[in-house]
């Protein structure tokens, strides 16, 4: 009994912080989402509006379009980060000259603030001064302009996200690969398994929890991308890169539409939780034994 009380006592500071900075803001956003609230209007009071903000959201073409481009962005970015991150993790598992140097260099994007990443890519992709349009023009005669081409802007935001976040995937997968016991691999090699079979039947099942955790983190991050994209493209051209985070930002701050912005935030949070939960169920959740 004594140790149980001590356990709660030691956990209390963390639980209090989590409650204050996690639960309270969440409950407040849900509360605001059921109100019309513009604190800078002539009437700055919250007016209860029931579920009207949610009704408006499901008919908002701008929001639904932003959901579509966000899904495409998340799919291409997270999948690419996983594949490239795994390849880099496997590369860093082998010894080669300058390994420590390259491993340090490749984690540098991680320590940069997203707004800085957006600024760097803005400079690199601006026509006439950026290195990327210049090289593409001189090598392939391709006239790159992210301010005019929706597809190019989308692709550049995906590449920027991959550049920024692949090191995180690499680091977590390196940690997972290092912790694997050597015995199953040696036994598989003795039994004559090839590299592909070892990957699909031994490596992947054993690192699956780490892969799922990494995908969770990246999925949640990618779904709420705002600052990088806002800096690089401002959500344009048109609405080509107006991801949900950017949509919420533009709804809440320039338009000061706090109630509707909160409702859209709650829907995005709901979708994030559902996607992560489905991923967990499909990959890790124990099956019901009665169903065979």
């Amino acid at each position: 009994m004594q140790s149980r009380k001590l356990g709660w006592l030691l956990l209390a500071p963390t639980l209090i912080v989590l409650f204050l900075f996690g639960v309270v803001p969440f409950v407040y956003v849900v509360y605001v989402s059921f109100h019309d609230w513009n604190p800078f209007a002539a009437n700055p009071d919250m007016v209860f509006s029931g579920a009207n903000n949610f009704r408006r959201a499901v008919f908002d073409a701008g929001f639904l379009a932003s959901l579509g481009v966000t899904v495409a962005f998340v799919f291409f970015a997270v999948l690419s980060e996983l594949v490239i991150g795994y390849a880099l993790a496997q590369a860093f598992m082998k010894d080669f000259p300058g390994k420590a140097f390259f491993r340090t260099i490749h984690t540098l994007p991680l320590i940069m603030a997203p707004i800085i990443v957006g600024s760097i890519w803005k400079l690199m992709t601006t026509p006439s001064i950026g290195i990327i349009p210049s090289l593409l023009d001189s090598w392939f005669g391709y006239d790159m302009n992210i301010g005019q081409s929706a597809a190019t802007a989308f692709v550049i935001t995906v590449i920027m996200d991959i550049w920024h976040w692949t090191p995180l995937v690499t680091l977590t997968l390196i940690a997972a690969l290092v912790s694997l016991p050597p015995d199953p691999f040696e036994q598989a090699q003795i039994d004559g398994a090839n590299k592909r079979q070892i990957f699909w039947h031994i490596t992947l099942p054993m690192i699956a929890p780490a892969v799922v955790a990494t995908v969770f983190i990246r999925l949640m991050d990618a779904l709420r991308t705002v600052d990088e994209v806002l800096m690089l493209t401002g959500g344009g051209p048109g609405s080509a890169t107006r991801y949900v985070g950017v949509h919420i930002f533009k709804e809440v701050f320039p338009r000061t539409n706090y109630g509707y912005g909160s409702a859209v935030s709650v829907i995005v949070l709901y979708l994030t939780i559902v996607v992560c939960w489905l991923l967990y169920v499909s990959m890790l959740a124990p099956r019901n034994s009665k169903k065979g």
């Binding site: 149980r4 949610f54 009704r55 709901y270 939780i273 099956r287």
Partner: protein, 83 residues
């Protein structure tokens, strides 16, 4: 020394007697093992999805959102009790 060994008549129980019981996994009609909190979570997920679907496609035809809430509540009772 031998006296000390003889005095230990029962195995030492390192577990607390008053520990909270582990969540009971249940085999219902859902394809995964769930405890009551999982089933409550699934019910809330279905309630929100049904409400948003209702707002978009059913409510413009007339039926009130309260019908959706009643369906979601019935589903929640079913999932939590037999899921």
């Amino acid at each position: 020394m031998s006296e000390k060994i003889e005095t230990i008549v029962e195995p030492i129980d390192i577990l607390e007697d008053d520990e909270a019981p582990a969540p009971v996994a249940k085999a219902g009609f859902l394809p995964i093992e769930t405890n009551w909190f999982d089933r409550l979570f699934i019910s809330v997920v279905i309630w929100v999805a049904l409400s948003l679907f209702w707002f978009r496609f059913i409510e413009p035809l007339g039926p009130s959102i309260w019908i959706s809430n009643a369906i979601a509540l019935a589903l929640a009772v079913l999932i939590i009790s037999k899921g």
